[in-house]
Amino acid sequence: MTVTAAWRDGARRVNRAGLVLAGVWVMTLLISVPLALVLRGMIADHLGDSLAADQAASGVNYEWMQEFADQASGIGVTFKPTILGFGAILDNLSAFFDATRRPLVVAAAAAVYIGLWLFVAGGIIDRLARDRAVRAHGFFAASGVYFWRFLRLGLIQLAVYGLLFGAVHEALFDRVYRRAIHDMSVERNAFAVRFALYIVFVLLVGAANLIFDYAKIRAVVEDRRSMISALGASARFVRRNGAAAGLYLLNVGVFLMCIALYGAVAPGASGSGAAMSAGLVVGQAYVLARLWIKLVFWASGAALFQSRLAHAGYVAAPVPVWPDSAAADAILPADDRDLSQTSASL
């Protein structure tokens, strides 16, 4: 299977799993809506009955925003003009590449969100790898089966990413970068250095991400229990199949196209009526697109892996079955009970 065929197959698998996409969107809302409501309360309290709210409702009241910022705490400190339109995306991308610390509340929300992703990752990959409906109980059973494995893998990921965003980032951008530009008097040369270091950093993070992705895919498709061996198998697969990296790059390209497209349509301050609703729709469409792309990363990876080492839709483990409780077993008709096990145990 070629890179583009794997991507197309992955996109098709995600499109056929609409409920999975809807589910992760709801999961995103579950984290973001409560915090947005908290911020809404802060803003409403600060504006009170003031006429300043009129301008804030109809456009941007920058003077009020600054007054708000001067007294804000908690998530309130993140309420700045940078949240407007495409600035929000640049702000987050920049914070990602520059390893900018976020306020504790945002970091805590991100930690919970990542935890939820860890929980559902097994179910999602299982569903996308099988490329057929597994119903809710199958999805959550798979999520539960793989959660503990992915939690162990997550600890390794935490260590690796902690190293990358900690020591490696610091070495690249605090030491190498500063030393390289120490006597530089031309800004674009300094930017070229920083850009080159961003590429190095992205390659390292991307390589780690790629290996972790295939570790998860192999863990699900091959029903691996050891995450260390899954990582080793993933690394071997990536090394022996250049298409894996090519597919990853293609997915990154799609992600960048999504960003660029949003840049063209990102809503600005707008008013508080229909424009606000339209802005919300565009914003959520962007979030859905990002989620779709994230799922395609896994789906296309699974398709590629299956095409190289198995076959389409192959997953070693049977569809996980939600176990019946003992009580349910007790009320089954005697004929339906599995007496062979009882006999055997006898």
Binding site: R40, S50, Q66, D70, A88, F212, A269, S270
Partner: protein, 646 residues
């Protein structure tokens, strides 16, 4: 050829200038007392970053007091080590990053000989010593005292020959070098200012700048051949030496400082400012090659300054100005020197964002407030920085409106313009947010060098700009312009003190403003008026509406209170703002809809404008929902960015 062209242009200027110039940089008749005159010869060795210099100083005592000693600034010793007053104050303000510099990045200036030439010859080298008039920091060597063998009475004159060696630092406070870009300022042993109560020669402080007498500067600078030189004044002579260097001689009358820059990389552009009622000015721009496409933006901003400041306050008299675009990381951007200033831009500088225009207008504006009106920047920095911040915002608003907020990402390299966020002159231009955060940090009347280092700028720049703009809105622009232009005219080429400005404000403003200056200058009290209560109830005769307004801050100012009723009727009350609160009650056919204190935003120093109004039909829920939704998308994107790692 370019040098020749500059000289020719300067000569052509003579006819149109208010003061006839006989040679490049010369002005006749004198505009200033010219009592501190310097002839300097200096050589730069870029490899060792060393300057060796010799100067002849001719100083005349123009005070009524007798001088028994001379006092010199040796500014570069402020960066000699981490124990100087400059560095200690910087650390007090929270900036400690420079303390660990390698030895070669620090600066020094050592006077190697001082000889009295007249009225009698004497070698005074051994008698030089350091003093610390502002603190007891014996590690500070930024002021040198030199006892005179004989006192110099009023009208008396001394001539001295001084030689020195200086090490050019990696840039501190706009001074120094990076790569082969050298920006050399406050670089020679320089006299303080003798005043009736003695020498005014402060140590170098982290938060303040400079103060000197006016004079003529005749300076010859020797630098490597092919290196471009920009300097205060105009070039009179250029001579190639046999050792691969070139000597550039610059001259300027009626200035109180001399700054210069040199680099082999500077790109030179020329343009001219012309105006029907103001003297023409030749503009020389020395640009970094990567900013070559921004030449017109620098010229336009400088023209804006020369035009508006010229029309508002008075003419720029020198006929020439040099704009220096400093190198990346030079730290030399945004600084003023006589007839020369540094702007400051970025490789990516989007349109409709006032960079480089804002800084260019501001630093060009210092030619008026600092250059021509020479207040004491150690003690009353607000008189130039504040006046100029106000004037910059006003000039920028004339030409560059609207301009937008831009934020920078990815290490500060990539700008993004927020076209929804328009920068308002009154708040952004005057720095309201900065003032609000430090409103009580210092009383403005405190000598500036004693302001807390990290917040002093907010009082110096922003508080002054805000109270000047408040005066403009309260008295009207014509009245304020009369005050400022009278001050400019009366104190050009002199050293005004705060009381001089206040006296002119009372005189030209046509009313006693002492109470206002008591609040904004002699106090750290803040202004904060607000609507505390708003209610309406139905009675037989109609609606009874009640408004309670309150003074939350300590400072007082007369304000309007505007009530708007449901039927559109508007009622404006005038409140002297003295009491802590005041209530208004109305019986009208319609209920009150809203009340607002200072609806025209006259009092720009009000630190909380959100509480200035109340309405019975608040939009806060709508506004809060809208902004919470926008913020939610930012948060979701933030979450997705990190979830990409799962």
């Amino acid at each position: 050829m370019r040098v020749l062209a500059v000289s020719v242009c300067a000569a052509a200027l003579v006819a149109s200038s208010p003061s006839a110039q006989t040679a490049p940089g010369a002005i006749s008749p004198p505009l200033s007392p010219r009592n501190a005159n310097y002839s300097i010869a200096a050589r730069l060795d870029p490899a060792s970053r060393t300057i060796t210099g010799e100067e002849r100083i001719v100083w005349r005592n123009i005070t009524t007091t007798t001088a028994t000693e001379l006092r010199f600034h040796l500014y570069w010793n402020g960066w000699r080590n981490a124990r100087t007053t400059f560095m200690r104050e910087r650390a007090l303000g929270g900036s400690t990053s420079d303390a660990n510099r390698p030895a070669g990045d620090w600066a020094s200036i050592d006077v190697t000989s001082v000889k009295l030439v007249s009225p009698s010859a004497a070698d005074l080298t051994a008698s030089q010593h350091f003093i610390t008039p502002d603190d007891d920091n014996t590690d500070d060597q930024t002021v040198m005292a030199l006892p005179l063998p004989a006192p110099v009475g009023p009208g008396g004159e001394v001539t001295l020959d001084v030689t020195w060696t200086a090490h050019v630092p990696r840039t501190f406070a706009r001074t120094g070098a990076i790569g082969n870009f050298f920006f050399i300022v406050q670089w020679f042993p320089k006299l303080g200012v003798l005043q009736p109560d003695g020498w005014n020669c402060h140590q170098f402080h982290a938060g303040t700048e400079f103060f000197s007498d006016y004079g003529s500067y005749d300076v010859t600078l020797t630098v490597p051949r092919q290196w471009t030189v920009g300097a205060t004044g105009l070039q009179r002579e250029r001579r190639d030496n046999t050792d691969g260097t070139t000597s550039h001689r610059y001259y300027q009358d009626d200035v109180h400082d001399f700054a210069w820059t040199t680099s082999p990389d500077l790109v030179e552009r020329m343009a001219r400012f012309e105006h029907p009622a103001l003297p023409a000015v030749d503009m020389r721009l020395l640009l970094q090659p990567e900013h070559a496409g921004q030449a017109d933006r620098h010229f336009d901003a400088t023209r804006t300054t020369l035009k508006y400041y010229g029309e508002w306050y008075g003419a720029y008299p020198y006929g020439h100005i040099t704009i220096v675009d400093p190198a990346f990381q030079s730290g030399a951007g945004g600084m003023e020197y006589p007839t020369l200033f540094t702007a400051g831009t970025r490789w990516l500088a989007p349109r409709h964002v006032t960079s480089p225009e804002g800084v260019t207008v501001h630093e060009a504006g210092h030619q008026f407030w600092y250059g021509i009106v020479g207040n004491n920047e150690f003690e009353d920095a607000w008189m130039d920085e504040g006046f100029n911040t106000f004037s910059t915002a006003r000039a920028v608003a004339q030409v560059y409106d609207p301009n937008y907020l831009a934020l920078r990402y990815f290490g500060g390299f990539v700008p993004w313009v927020f076209r929804d966020v328009v920068m308002a002159r009154e708040t952004e231009g005057n720095g309201l947010a900065g003032y609000r955060r430090a409103a009580k940090s210092d009383i403005q009347a405190t000598p500036t060098f004693r302001y807390f280092p990290s917040t002093g700028g907010n009082i110096t720049y922003f508080k002054t700009a805000l109270w000047l703009n408040t005066l403009e809105r309260w008295l009207g622009w014509r009245a304020l312009q009369k005050i400022m232009s009278t001050h400019f005219d009366r104190w050009k080429f002199k050293h005004p003190k705060p009381g001089d400005f206040f006296a002119i404000a009372n005189e030209a403003g046509g009313r006693d403003l002492t109470w206002f200056f008591d609040r904004v200058y002699r106090s750290a009290d803040v202004f904060d008026y607000g609507v505390d209560g708003l209610s309406a109830s139905q009675e037989e005769s109609g609606f009874r509406s009640t408004v309670v307004v309150r003074r939350f801050g300590e400072a007082t100012f007369p304000v309007d209170v505007r009530m708007i009723f449901d039927d559109g009727e508007r009622v404006t009350e005038h409140w002297d703002g003295a009491d802590r609160w005041k209530s208004y009650s109305y019986v009208r056919p319609s209920s009150i809809m809203s009340a607002e204190v200072d609806p025209d935003h006259v009092l720009l120093l009000d630190v909380n404008y959100t509480n200035n109004s109340k309405t019975l039909h608040p939009s806060a829920p709508k506004a809060a929902t809208k902004w919470a939704m926008k913020w939610m998308v930012w948060l979701q994107d933030c979450l997705l960015s990190w979830a990409a790692l799962v």
